[in-house]
């Protein structure tokens, strides 16, 4: 083994360790509003859109209520128009965190029911 090789291997090992730590630091978790509030971190929250009538929509703000897995309902700010498929989504995943007292979503992932999954699909 040449020295240069050993150095390379060590460098590679260090790189992987750094990556591991960095990944674990950057990972967000699927969590709830209360956990998000406590930690102040950016998290993924899966939940359900509730109180649909009172959602506010403008070109730069979509404000709506989400109930998380523990049943906590929170008002969510989203600084973009309402995303596609939002009406249909059976579940939504919010990526965001608390800015002072408001939950600001940076990204919304909507999960729609599968188009062809059910047998009661309307064929007409």
């Amino acid at each position: 083994m040449k020295i240069s090789r050993i150095i390379l291997l060590v460098a590679a090992a260090i790189l992987m360790v750094v990556f591991g730590v960095s990944l674990s630091e950057n990972l967000s978790t699927y969590s709830t509003f209360s956990m998000a509030k406590e930690s102040g971190k950016t998290v993924h929250i899966a939940g359900e859109w509730v109180d649909r009538e009172n959602a506010v929509e403008t070109e730069n703000l979509f404000q709506f209520s989400v109930k998380d897995s523990l049943g906590v309902v929170e008002l969510v700010h989203f600084n973009d128009p309402k995303p596609n498929n939002f009406e249909q989504a059976e579940r939504i995943v919010l990526v965001g965190g608390y800015d002072k007292e408001t939950f600001v979503a940076d990204k919304i992932i909507t999960k729609c029911p599968s188009k062809y999954g059910e047998s009661d699909v309307n064929l007409e």
């Binding site: 960095s22 630091e25 971190k41 498929n85 990204k107 599968s114 188009k115």
Partner: protein
């Protein structure tokens, strides 16, 4: 028909695989005949794949909606070229496409590869085809006839194995294990017997399985399987020094093991092999109430193609990508063949052009996908680090690494094992990425929605088989593979090439690990979510790889060529280094003077703020280091990309001077220049992109002062210009994407109905079904004039349906009714005209028509961006909000005007000019006969640079009743009513209604400036060109 082809494809691939592997054991004539059988059946396989595709396409083309696949992916309205893309919208279709490319590649290989390699390479290919074509079989393993095939398939290798055992018992070191094998076979049979009869719960659940009544048989099977596995491993070890003879034995053993595992784990009666594209709709939804009423029900229209895929890039992107995927198998097959034959070095030469080809096509496919996303989707870019994209990027990175490994090996004879592993991994990663995207496992992390067709089990099996078989092969051959430690010094091309390989491996690993988080979650039951700032996360890792790539490849290329010229590295490299430094710092200075922050700098500032939350000291320290280091990352990337371009440009220049050999060998240099350009393009377009749709209209600035608020979308009313960064934008109103029809023709006729196809002016094609009796040519004597849209059908009641269809009438009808008969997803497609005027340069103005549709299936706004392409930047615009269909009550403001001809007045900002009055009585006798007074007012409305006309009218009939005719200028929301004439004062009275809340003319849009994105596309072209040159050269060599 289709199912027949599918079975044939499967069977012939199987025969081909077996006979080609058997051929390898034989010599001379025997070998020839086996090979001939193998090639012939591969030919049959290829033909039947073409047969399946032909059948499926015919079904789609003729709208046979009784088939589930056709129904779910196509519709009457689909133009032909999109029918092609709906062919591969579904998973079955994409597997078919993959099979198809394999078949094509196989046929090419049969003709081009030297006979020494031909058999085995094709054999490996055929073995993959066996599995792939099973994906479209769609048969239940539990069905009785399949059972027979299944048993035979399982038992033949078992019997073969037993036969070998009996024959060579004495020479083998594993005497005495026979009883175990006996137990195994008995147990297997028992399980088969029981399992065939009951459909138990979850086939994946061991608990379910064990608690069920056949737990005993299951236990036996486990013992038998373990015994067999033990036997097999011992056998493998025993024969490992003379492996090529025993390959079939090993394969047979492996297949018995695999099948046995499958038998024990799956509930056979519900376990399905593949998913057939020829499934009937009725079979797919047997419980649908429709079938209770009418068992023969066939839908008249399909549910349509996802409108995001209705883009011409979707017609060519998937085949390209899949060709890339498919072609990774060729180098893989060469490696396997090399391993089996024990020709460890020789495979590299014939495999190199294929490796080049595969990497090139895969690269093009990926970029095309990016271009499609850029053009069709509104996430604002070409790359989103979505798992699907990563899934194709990782094999590419690995393939690049493998390619360079092969190249170094050619020169130095070292890095052989590394290249083999990389080539194998490339192929395996393709399988893995297919698994990721098709199994639905990505669930919450991807914006794409995937449904699991029940193929994930098969895909796992596929990965497991190729993983273990190649692993076993590698392990067994490990010692035999010649290896030579690279003892080259640091300043050699090889060293830097190796560094480059490492970089690509790391980049691939890091992306693969991050993308695979859902898989880890599934396995370990954790709930890790991907980094919240995905873009940033990937950026901060990969920017270093890109920097490393630039520097290493620049140096490596230089050293590679400079060795011949006997220059020292410093002499050779100073020129490009200086040039890159010079240009790089010039650009930097320009950027700094223009006060352009690098886009991610802000994110890093917030990162450092967040670092308070880092849970441990290491994390905190890392965050600070990261911040410090990252703030210069983009400058370094800029430098290294320039460096690689200049370094390679320099080499290219000197190569071209010796033009005889230069042209031939310049593939590599050209490719690297292309890649450098791509990096530059990516750096500028992604790093320095800028949202320019920020409302700067002065009177509306209040309330928007806060800097922190993210306001990327600008709301705009029709004809009310807005100021945004650098431009004045005017919304000129919607325009329907569909216009009058052309190319009308009848495609199908029944006595009651006929189907027509036609195109609109945008060249979209539609189909429509019309009742036939209504549109027949009327016979003479029938009343010509009939009010309404429908011809009288005097004959229809008598059941008389003969006669010609009146095409002229059909055309008129369609033209008149187009807006109503267009299918919903086309009906709601609108183009929104936005006029941009540059504030700096008055000659720089353009109009864009970003498209948006209200999609009923997806129930949302689907916006397709529009772009203005400059040489040095793109202006990328998409609509983010369009008027809702249910508007509020209209509100009007009334303006009463009394004017003389020639008067001018203002209504709001609109200037109204009353030109004159026309006396209609003088114009036409008919008018004069009916009306005492008939006047038309000529009014002009001038708004901004546009002038509109309005002619409201005023009538007094002979019987002294009076009436009015309003005039409307839609563009300005003004209605004009001419209601009174005052002859004494010479005044004419008008009422002007101004619509105050024209909600229907309000949209919001987002505009992004993407500088130098053309460098990315240019780089791609150069890269491809370089690859082509290299392929040409390497295929000459082999």
């Amino acid at each position: 028909m289709g199912n027949f082809f599918a079975s044939l494809a499967f069977a012939s691939a199987f025969v081909s695989m077996v006979s080609l592997f058997l051929a390898e054991r034989e010599q001379g004539k025997e070998k020839k005949s086996w090979e001939r059988l193998g090639f012939a059946s591969f030919g049959i396989h290829a033909l039947s794949i073409v047969g399946i595709i032909g059948t499926l396409f015919y079904l789609i083309y003729t709208h046979q909606y009784q088939f589930h696949y056709v129904w779910s992916h196509s519709s009457n309205e689909l133009p032909v070229h999109y029918m092609i893309s709906c062919f591969w919208e579904g998973q079955e279709g994409s597997f078919l496409l993959w099979c198809f490319w394999h078949a094509v590649l196989g046929v090419i290989l049969m003709r081009t590869v030297k006979s020494e390699w031909r058999g085995l390479v094709l054999g490996v290919l055929a073995s993959i085809e066996v599995v792939l074509s099973s994906m479209v079989l769609g048969i239940y393993v539990g069905e009785s006839w399949v059972y027979g095939i299944y048993l035979t398939l399982g038992l033949i290798p078992a019997a073969y194995f037993a036969f070998r055992y009996i024959k060579q018992r004495d020479q083998l070191p594993w005497k005495g294990s026979f009883p175990l094998a006996g137990i195994f076979v008995t147990a297997m049979m028992l399980v088969l017997l029981f399992r065939g009869q009951d459909g138990m719960g979850d086939p994946w659940s061991w608990a379910d399985t064990i608690s069920s009544f056949d737990g005993f048989a299951f236990g036996l099977a486990i013992i038998g399987l373990l015994g067999f596995a033990f036997l097999y491993l011992r056998y493998a070890v025993a024969v490992s020094n003379n492996i090529s003879k025993h390959i079939p034995d090993l394969l047979a053993g492996a297949s018995v093991l695999g099948i046995a595992y499958a038998v024990m784990n799956f509930d056979l009666s519900t376990w399905k092999v593949g998913s057939s594209p020829f499934l009937l709709l009725k079979e797919a939804f047997p419980d649908n109430p429709v079938y209770a009423n009418d068992p023969d029900f066939i839908p008249t229209n399909g549910s349509g193609l996802n409108s995001l895929l209705q883009n011409y890039w979707m017609v060519i992107h998937p085949p390209t990508l899949f060709l890339g995927f498919a072609s990774t198998v060729v180098p893989f097959a060469f490696v396997i063949a090399g391993l089996i034959k024990g020709k460890y070095r020789e495979w590299i030469r014939p495999a190199t052009p294929w490796m080049l080809f595969s990497v090139m096509i895969l690269g093009i496919g990926i970029i095309m996908g990016g271009y499609w996303a850029y053009e069709t989707l509104n996430f604002g870019g070409y790359w989103n680090w979505d798992p699907v994209e990563n899934g194709s990027l990782v094999p590419w990175l690995c393939g690049i690494a493998g390619l360079h490994g092969m190249l170094i090996h050619k020169k130095t004879k070292s890095y052989l094992k590394l290249s083999m592993i990389l080539v194998i991994s490339t192929f395996w990663l393709v399988l893995y990425s297919t698994f990721l995207t098709r199994s639905g496992i990505l669930g919450d992390t991807s914006v794409h929605t995937f449904t699991d067709l029940g193929l994930s089990g098969q895909l796992i099996l596929l990965m497991a088989i190729y993983g273990t078989v190649t692993l076993i092969l590698m392990v067994l051959r490990w010692k035999a593979i010649p290896s030579k430690i690279d003892d080259s010094k640091i300043w050699t091309a090889e060293f830097f090439l190796f560094m480059g390989i490492l970089i690509f491996i790391f980049a691939g690993l890091i992306i693969a690990i991050s993308t695979s988080l859902p898989v880890f979650n599934k396995i370990f039951g954790t709930s890790m979510a991907p980094p919240a700032e995905v873009q940033l996360f990937y950026y901060k890792w990969n920017v270093w790889f890109a920097v490393g790539f630039g520097i290493f490849s620049g140096i490596a290329q230089f050293l590679w060529w400079s060795k011949a010229k006997k220059k020292t590295p410093a002499q050779a490299l100073y020129r490009p280094f200086l040039l890159a430094m010079l240009l790089g710092s010039t650009i930097l200075v320009l950027l700094i003077t223009a006060r352009k922050d690098f886009a991610f700098d802000k994110d890093f500032a917030s990162l450092i703020a967040d670092s308070e939350f880092a849970s441990n000291f290491l994390g905190k320290a890392l965050a600070y280091i990261e911040f410090g280091v990252m703030s210069i990352a983009d400058e370094l990337l800029l430098f290294s990309a320039l460096f690689v371009i200049f370094a390679n440009g320099d080499i290219l220049f000197s190569l071209l001077k010796k033009n005889t050999t230069g042209l031939k060998v310049m593939g590599g240099t050209v490719t690297h220049i292309g890649f450098g350009l791509m990096l530059l393009g990516i750096l500028f377009s992604s790093g320095y992109d800028e949202v320019i749709s920020i409302n700067l209209t002065p009177e509306e600035m209040q309330g928007f002062s806060s800097d922190e608020e993210k306001i990327d979308n600008v709301g705009i009313l029709k004809n009310k210009p807005r100021l945004i960064k650098g431009y004045e934008v005017t919304y000129t109103g919607p325009k329907e994407a569909v216009a009058p029809i052309r190319k009308l023709h009848v495609i199908e006729e029944t006595p009651e109905f006929f189907k027509v196809r036609f195109r609109d002016s945008t060249n979209d094609e539609f189909g429509f079904v019309l009742p036939r009796p209504v549109f027949l040519v009327k016979e003479e004597g029938e009343s010509e004039k009939s009010e309404g849209d429908i011809h009288p059908t005097s004959n229809a009641s008598d059941g008389e349906l003969e006669g010609e269809i009146d095409m002229q009438y059909v055309e008129d009808f369609l033209n008149k009714n187009l807006p109503f008969i267009k299918p919903p997803h086309i009906n709601n497609r609108m183009l929104y005209g936005l006029e941009f005027r540059s504030l700096k340069d008055s000659s720089d103005h353009f109009k864009l028509y970003p498209e948006a549709e209200i999609n009923e299936q997806m129930n949302g706004l689907i916006a397709h961006p529009a772009r203005k392409v400059y040489l040095d930047r793109d202006i990328y615009v998409h609509v983010s909000q369009v008027p809702a269909n249910e508007g509020e009550e209209p509100k009007y403001k009334f303006h009463e005007l009394a004017l003389k001809p020639g008067d001018t007045t203002f209504v709001g900002n609109t200037k109204i000019y009353f030109h004159n009055i026309a006396n209609l009585n003088q114009r036409a006798e008919e008018v004069d006969k009916n009306f005492e007074v008939a006047l038309a007012a000529h009014l002009l409305a001038i708004a901004g640079q546009d002038t509109f006309f309005a002619n409201p009218m005023y009538f007094i009939a002979r019987d002294n009743t009076f009436s009015m005719k309003e005039a409307t200028i839609e563009e300005l929301y003004l209605d004009f009513v001419f209601y009174k004439v005052d002859p004494q004062k010479g005044l004419f009275h008008f009422q002007i209604r101004e619509l105050e809340n024209p909600t229907s003319d309000y949209i919001a849009f987002k505009a992004i400036k993407k500088p130098y994105i053309n460098l990315l596309w240019l780089g791609t072209f150069i890269l491809t060109f370089g690859f082509l040159l290299a392929i040409y050269r390497r295929s000459k060599e082999s």
